[in-house]
Subunit: 341 residues, 2 copies
């Protein structure tokens, strides 16, 4: 088997306590014993058992990324992957242990966030995928373990939120469409009870009103953020409203935009010649479609990185819980045509 701290102690002729001090760079140890121990450790290919370490030590350097609904999604999800990369990047740079936990609504009902942390000896977590009908949405409020939620505003003394200014971003996106001369715009909406849906809706309406435009109820297509729903919804929409002069589809996510374009092409229309389409998120796929989709890039990897960063600072007492608004960027590509106003 692999060597334990005992083996190293014996081989170096010191006590386990001293080995522990040497391995963890404690100051109260002479330079030469440390060196000798380190050498012996290397010789024996000693690796501290992180499980034992985590069990015995008070403060842990273990953080987690909790993904709710990761397995349920039929949809393609770039989003989680990019988030993951950001979190892992931070963890590696700062020598933290990071673990990923997949949960869902049922698991949330079974065990609280604090219990989950306790089970795994976790100091705190970045949480993604919470619906505002999920148990954690309310229970996190009283959590004593720090956490950082992504894109969902949960209150609580130990909970931070990392998000974008979705209202402003969507307003910008809508304004861009208007600036290109579009007056009759259909909105392809996300899940009704999602915070981001409400925010983006607000942004869209703001921009429209500011320009003296209305968003008729019939021009709203509802989905649960699934591409297929967008396809079906848009296909039906152009059957019913095809002649009413709608010139653009404003989509609440990139996947919805992909579905929209699919439906449009399926109906023999061209994008952007016949209809303009814009998305939201900035996932990779927007660069692979034809045309490439004009969208708002949230820089999701960065979001993961900053979320882990904030979490770490909360754990260490460097920064208090707070809302962090990250910058977004309008990415103009090929899915919008300028039309006569």
């Amino acid at each position: 088997m692999t060597a334990t701290i005992q083996d190293v102690a014996k081989a170096a002729g010191v006590s386990v306590g001293t080995v522990s001090r040497a391995m963890n760079n404690y100051p109260d140890i002479s330079a030469k014993t440390r060196e000798r121990i380190l050498e012996v450790a290397k010789e024996l290919q000693y690796r501290p058992n992180l499980v034992a370490k985590s069990l015995s030590s008070k403060h842990s350097r273990n953080i987690a990324l909790i993904l709710s609904g990761f397995l349920e999604d039929v949809m393609f999800n770039d989003f989680e992957t990019m988030l993951m990369k950001g979190c892992y990047q931070f963890a590696i740079e700062h020598d933290l242990e990071i673990s990923m936990h997949v949960i869902n609504t049922r698991i949330q009902e079974e065990k609280s966030y604090e219990q989950l942390c306790y089970e795994h000896n976790i100091a705190g977590a970045v949480i993604f995928g919470l619906k505002n009908t999920d148990p954690y949405f309310k229970s996190l409020e009283e959590s004593r373990k720090p956490c950082v939620t992504i894109d969902v505003e949960v209150s609580g003394e130990n909970v931070s939120n990392v998000t974008n200014d979705h209202v402003a971003a969507f307003e910008e996106l809508t304004q861009y469409l208007i600036d290109q001369g579009h007056r009759n715009i259909a909105l392809v909406c996300g899940r009704k009870n999602a915070a981001v849906t409400a925010q983006r809706m607000e942004g869209a309406v703001n921009a429209m009103h500011r320009n003296g435009l209305e968003l008729p109820k019939e021009y709203i297509i509802y989905t649960n953020f699934l591409k297929e729903e967008a396809s079906a919804g848009v296909a039906e929409f152009i059957r019913e409203h095809g002649k009413e002069g709608v010139t653009a589809f404003l989509c609440m996510s990139d996947m919805l935009a992909v579905g929209t374009i699919e439906a449009l092409k399926g109906a023999g229309r061209r994008v952007p010649e016949d209809y303009s389409v814009v998305g939201y998120d900035g996932i990779y796929v927007t660069e692979y479609t034809d045309p490439k989709i004009t969208t708002v890039d949230q820089n999701i990897k960065d979001k993961g990185y900053e979320a882990a960063h904030l979490l770490y600072d909360m754990i260490e007492g460097i920064r208090p819980a707070q809302d962090l608004i990250l910058p977004h960027k309008l990415e103009i590509r090929g899915s919008v045509k300028k039309v006569d106003a």
Copy 2:
């Protein structure tokens, strides 16, 4: 804090040993004490500390998914996400703890696979992303901890490999192109030292020779599986060989196909009217491009599931180490045109 096994024992008026037996469904305990304990446990919202559990118990139900190079990839990677989903699916269904570990070549040099398992108290792992120049490629051979590699043939008593018959699959794909009348086919190749590259190459050559065709050296475009390299390579290729009658591009991955199509369109050519293109992998993006890409679907999620399954069986002694060849499926979509032979 959260309740410990001691608290439950005290509250139920029994010893910790008995609580442990009750919680783990051991047979040697009376039905009514078990019930009482379970009730008390629920009341106290008791959750066993998995870290302590893992430390003390001999056999562990902890498996891992090890991803090598996950952070390095500039490329878009669906592949890992789908693999992850498959592994997590199996773990959840079988009540296993699964953790994900991101490594790279450097980390492989620093600690062996067995050490990594020891550090985290892991019974075995599914390993993805190994290059055949990586340290683990050889060292796994002598591992006493079981593991399952994906798409890379590592020998060793405790190592299984889950893959597809890439030779046959690529042969099939190539044959399809030939059946559609293509005679002059360019090959967009993956990383030279990757096992999958050699296998697919073999499949391509097999199909060509069987049909009396040759693959001229000048018709091979080398890449490291990066989309951008395919774009650049193909752009250059049609500048140099544009007039020589090549009618199709056979790509070793879907991302290479995406890059190829991009380059073709960039040069003002149409797909599939002017050139046919096929990919390989079956990642989601092939359905979002225009045209949708004809490809070989590896059913990656399934691959992850089966890999975790095999790993589990190896750990439990149900199945010995073995090579598992999963079925593939030719997905005919819109990127190939029938031409006159």
